[in-house]
Subunit: 216 residues, 2 copies
């Protein structure tokens, strides 16, 4: 069977979000580079994959997808096993808890944490743009409140959706990985349950392997 | 069986996102008001439902949820029938297309359209804050590009995820409904496929019934 294709760079957090689930599944995949300098993301070939001209895009035979969270769910469903059922769609209440914490990642956690990654790493290193300290400080204040809620949640359950590793946990990996490379990574020290949860994610062989290709 | 409970006001777009799927299912539900002026959203009872103190929250027996998109999916799964299978989770590629266009709603469509709703309706009417024309104009420019992509998509398929009505389409209802009440609603006239798609959503009896309770 031909390997599935992921279009984009492992260094991009949204591409890495897809790769996490492929690595976790031990899936055979091909990473196809999209050259932004050559405007390949706006080429007809790429716009046929993603009409908004962004990465990642994904191809599995006739199935062509975009939007990292949608692709990641496709991968989680396709490679689902009894041992690795990351979405739990067969169980109404477990699936709902996976969805709740997946939405929290998108709309609350990453909304607070990712601006810090952009201001401290991506803008200065990739675009030569200086850090906006006001954005960083406001985001840190939001992030502390989010981490308090996570600390309480992870005091009750081993993982976000319950006592099972799920899509919701792994979905936190890419931005948190880069956040840890900013000068603010030590913030997690104040939240011992969150820190232990993050370390348990980082210790996974698939995550270790992927991390090595993402070093900022 | 006790009716499920939705905490919040029908006028809130994120509460309405949940009500759409309950109305479509013909489900028995109770809408429980959360009094923001009395800070009820920050009360221990409500924080036990949603640790971030927002609406909507949801209760179905022992299942307590927050995050509108997660609740909406729970409702779509719970009331799924052969005729109304809005998530298509039994079909790998159909489920993926539903996910793609659900993510587009959250991260691209509503990211462009909802600031216009906030600036033109919610901020002036609810908070006495004047409209920021710069935000409106920038958002309109983004929205035009998004609607071009939607027009192309809806020229190939009757609905966003394919030739079947799905979660992705109905999920567009709340913010679009309020957008239509702004002075910019006529923008949809320039995109005939999008306009026809929107009209087909608006003509649904469940949507008609819900709309009547949301009038700005």
């Amino acid at each position: 069977m031909a390997p599935v294709k992921v279009f984009g760079q492992a260094m991009s957090p949204n591409v890495a979000r897809v790769l996490v689930f492929l690595e976790e599944a031990g899936a055979d995949y091909e990473l196809v580079d999209i050259d932004f300098q050559a405007k390949e993301h706006k080429s007809p070939d790429h716009l046929a994959r993603n009409p908004f001209g962004q990465i990642p895009a994904f191809q599995d035979g006739h199935v062509v997808l975009f939007e990292s969270r949608a692709i990641a769910k496709y991968v989680a469903r396709k490679y689902k096993t009894d041992e690795a059922d990351l979405l739990r769609e067969g169980d109404l209440s477990e699936a709902a808890m996976v969805d709740v914490w997946t939405e929290v990642e998108a709309h609350t956690y990453s909304a607070a944490l990712s601006p810090i990654v952009y201001e401290r790493l991506i803008f200065p290193l990739m675009h030569g743009k200086p850090t906006d300290d006001k954005v960083v400080n406001e985001s840190l204040e939001k992030l502390r409140k989010v981490l308090e809620v996570y600390e309480a949640r992870l005091s009750k359950h081993r993982y976000l959706a319950g006592d099972f590793l799920s899509f919701a946990d792994l979905n936190h990996f890419p931005y948190t990985f880069y956040f840890m490379a900013t000068p603010h990574g030590a913030l997690f020290e104040s939240y011992p349950r969150v820190k232990a949860w993050w370390e348990s994610i980082m210790s996974r062989p698939a995550i270790q392997k992927l991390s090595a290709t993402m070093t900022p």
